[in-house]
């Protein structure tokens, strides 16, 4: 270790990996991963969320799973909780849509209305 910069680099890199363990309020993506969701391809969706967040170096958003959300016909389903607890439910997802949600909702704070349950039900 010859400089503080090196130390800071290690810190920032590792912090990203560890941010999942923080209990501070932050955005969460919860993917429905019950049998119905998995059958509809939820796993791909989840991986896409994780991958896209990684690519963009976003480490204050956690991705987690939940059970059946109750709208099996609209699976794969994911819910995005923002820091204030506001919830947006996205349905009929695939990997491509997941990446767009990251780009628009997570990065730019703009709900991707066309994928929401509201739009699908309309």
């Amino acid at each position: 270790m010859k400089s503080i910069e090196e130390l800071k680099a290690i810190r920032d890199r590792t912090l990203k990996e560890m941010s999942i363990r923080d209990n501070e309020d932050k955005m969460r993506i919860v993917v429905g991963m019950a049998t119905c969701g998995i059958a509809a391809g939820a796993k791909n969706v989840m991986n896409a969320f994780i991958d896209e967040l990684n690519k963009r170096n976003i480490n204050n958003v956690t991705v987690s799973m939940t059970g059946c959300i109750g709208i099996c016909r609209l699976e794969p389903v994911a819910e995005v909780f923002d820091a204030t607890g506001e919830k947006t439910t996205y349905v009929k997802l695939d990997a491509e849509k997941a990446r767009r949600i990251v780009a628009e909702h997570i990065v730019n704070q703009k709900v991707v209305t066309e994928f929401t349950v509201g739009a699908a039900e309309r």
Binding site: R11, E17, M18, I20
Partner: protein
């Protein structure tokens, strides 16, 4: 690598002893079977502190805290929680609203009243991965000290923080460093006392197991402050996990150049070695510890000269305890002013206690100085089991004393504890309820000192033995008029004459119990009665005729044939034959046997 989930498993000694290795193996296997190795990360951590509920497992991002996890629970945790995202409620900590499991660890009373400085990383990081320590600002304090501060500024900051030694005496750490820094010598040493030996105390072990780098970093800072380039960590050989993690941590720090030559490109070089103690309690005394490091029989020597002047191999040496060191990096990073906001006027910061005995949440807690005993027992400790009455708390181990219920609202700090006839000690806290006999407790602690006296000076070697013999006599019903006074006389002279701090404080458990519970002593001596019903020789078992159904079961179970009678009529215990084993009482289905 980012994972969607982190599973933190306590790898402290307590949980390890409860099948954690098997749990880890099962978990790895189950994750592999489900193909989740790339999504779920297993993180070995140090102690969470809630040892009573171990083995502990925390699953993030939900923060679901599972307790009493058994190897057989793993399949369910993986299938339900990690695959389907459904939290396994039956394993959750506490009885709180299980719907709101996120951040549950922080929400339970056990944790939310704590202020975790020394334990900041315990249960949070993987102690075997230096990067995780660095991620939590590890080694930043060392970097700051080396590049932005002079040694004197470091010492001044520590002085200003008011940090006092967490190993027992509470000597101001900054002052100790200043003494050593003032010495002119070709060689100085920094030592860490990890020879934790008080019965029931294990905070140092937990820090070494859960956050070894915090100690390493602090020792390097200390080395910089006093002008030492070599350190020794004296740790007891009975702490194999701590030793192993320390070894890993030291080699990682060396690899990163955080130990070794020209740290952070400065002129400062520092390295560390581990020395194993063979388990003598006395080696926790600083001069004995150094004598042991030098390769001799671990025995204290007279002071002065003090270690800061003539320590290890006759060179200026500072010796601090593990918990003291763990505070140092935080103080340098956040500043003495921040540290000063925590605690009382003369006792700054926090103190880690190992609470045990008659308490619901046994375990490790870090509380701000000044918290009352009541808060510790009821808010954090969850109260006394079975709704029994709190009688006293023993702090300071064999050097400390008892704080009676009447002082339950005294804020805990160094000076208050001393005034009460106890001491902070290394932080053991044993809670006693109405069923504890204080004479017996004093005897227990004294027996420990008798065994662990190094034997160098007669007051400790013989004096504590004679005190023990008197206590043994008292608790066996052979107490004589004048025994209590004899105990006091011996105690006073041992305090005055013994060579080292351990000898001088050895009588404390007896003196403090006599001070607060003299009536109990007198009951033993004068009435040959043990009010708490503990001292077997003083007890008598009786059959209550009204309750006895004459079933004869007790008579059959009695190992010495002391119970006789006629079927369906009340039985009688022959007091001359009775050996007071209590089997009859345990056997009786009608609660017809009492002891008094």
């Amino acid at each position: 690598m980012v994972y969607r989930s982190h599973v933190l498993i306590c790898n402290g000694t307590g949980c390890t002893a409860s099948k954690v290795p098997e749990i880890m193996a099962r978990l790895e296997k189950a994750l592999a079977e489900k193909g989740l190795e790339k999504e779920v990360k297993i993180v070995k951590t140090g102690c969470f502190g809630l040892c009573e509920k171990g083995p502990i497992m925390v699953v993030y991002p939900e923060g679901a805290t599972y307790c009493h996890v058994a190897p057989d629970d793993i399949e369910e945790i993986v299938n339900e929680h990690l695959v389907k995202g459904r939290i396994v409620k039956r394993l959750l900590l506490g009885d709180k609203d299980v719907e709101d499991v996120a951040k549950s660890l922080d929400n339970v009373g056990f944790f939310n009243r704590q202020v975790r400085i020394a334990l900041r990383n315990c249960g949070v990081i993987n102690p075997e991965v230096i990067d995780e320590y660095i991620a939590r600002d590890g080694y930043m304090a060392l970097a700051k000290a080396l590049t932005e501060m002079t040694p004197q500024q470091v010492i001044d900051e520590i002085k200003k923080s008011g940090l006092r030694g967490r190993g027992g005496g509470g000597f101001p750490t900054g002052m100790k460093w200043q003494f050593a820094a003032n010495q002119v010598s070709d060689q100085k040493y920094v030592c860490c006392n990890a020879d934790e030996g008080d019965p029931g105390a294990f905070m140092d072990r937990s820090i070494l197991e859960g956050d070894p780098h915090s100690v390493i970093e602090a020792m390097a800072i200390a080395g910089y402050a006093i002008g030492a380039n070599q350190g020794y960590i004296y740790v007891r050989a009975e702490y194999p996990i701590a030793v192993q993690r320390l070894q890993i941590a030291i080699s990682q720090a060396r690899e990163y150049g955080l130990l070794g030559k020209n740290i952070f490109g400065t002129d400062f070089s520092f390295d560390l070695d581990i020395r194993l103690g063979a388990g003598a309690f006395v080696c926790g005394e600083e001069t004995a510890l150094m004598t042991s490091i030098e390769g001799h029989r671990g025995e204290p020597r007279t002071r002065p000269p003090f270690p800061a002047v003539k320590g290890l191999w006759g060179k200026p040496t500072i010796l601090n305890n593990v918990e003291t060191y763990a505070n140092i990096p935080v103080i340098l990073l956040k500043g003495a002013d921040w540290f000063n906001t925590i605690g009382t006027e003369k006792s700054k910061g926090t103190k880690v206690f190992a609470i045990g005995g008659k308490i619901n949440n046994t375990g490790l807690v870090e509380i701000p100085m000044g918290m009352t005993l009541r808060e510790v027992i009821y808010d954090i400790g969850g109260g006394i089991p079975k709704g029994k009455k709190f009688k006293a708390a023993q702090t300071g181990g064999p050097s400390g004393g008892c704080i009676p219920a009447s002082h339950i609202d005294v804020p805990i700090d160094y000076d208050n504890l001393l005034e009460l006839g106890s001491m902070m000690g290394s932080g053991g806290m044993i809670i006693m309820d109405e069923d504890n006999c204080m004479v017996d407790i004093a005897k227990f602690f004294l027996e420990f000192t008798v065994d662990e006296s190094c034997g160098k000076c007669p007051p400790c070697r013989i004096g504590t033995k004679r005190m023990y013999e008197i206590l043994d006599r008292i608790t066996s019903g052979k107490g004589e008029e004048g025994d209590i006074e004899k105990l006091e006389l011996l105690a006073e002279n041992i305090k005055q004459s013994a060579l080292c701090g351990l000898g001088q404080t050895a009588p404390n458990p007896v003196l403090s119990t006599i001070r607060y519970f003299r009536d109990e002593y007198e009951a033993h001596v004068k009435e040959h009665r043990c009010p708490a019903g503990v001292c077997r020789a003083l007890l008598k078992y009786f059959i209550i005729p009204d309750k006895c159904k004459g079933c004869s079961l007790c008579s059959k179970k009695c190992p010495v044939g002391a119970i006789s009678g006629e079927i369906k009529k009340p039985y009688v215990i022959d007091q001359n034959k009775c050996i007071k084993c209590g089997v009859c009482m345990d056997t009786c289905k009608f609660a017809a046997i009492e002891k008094k």
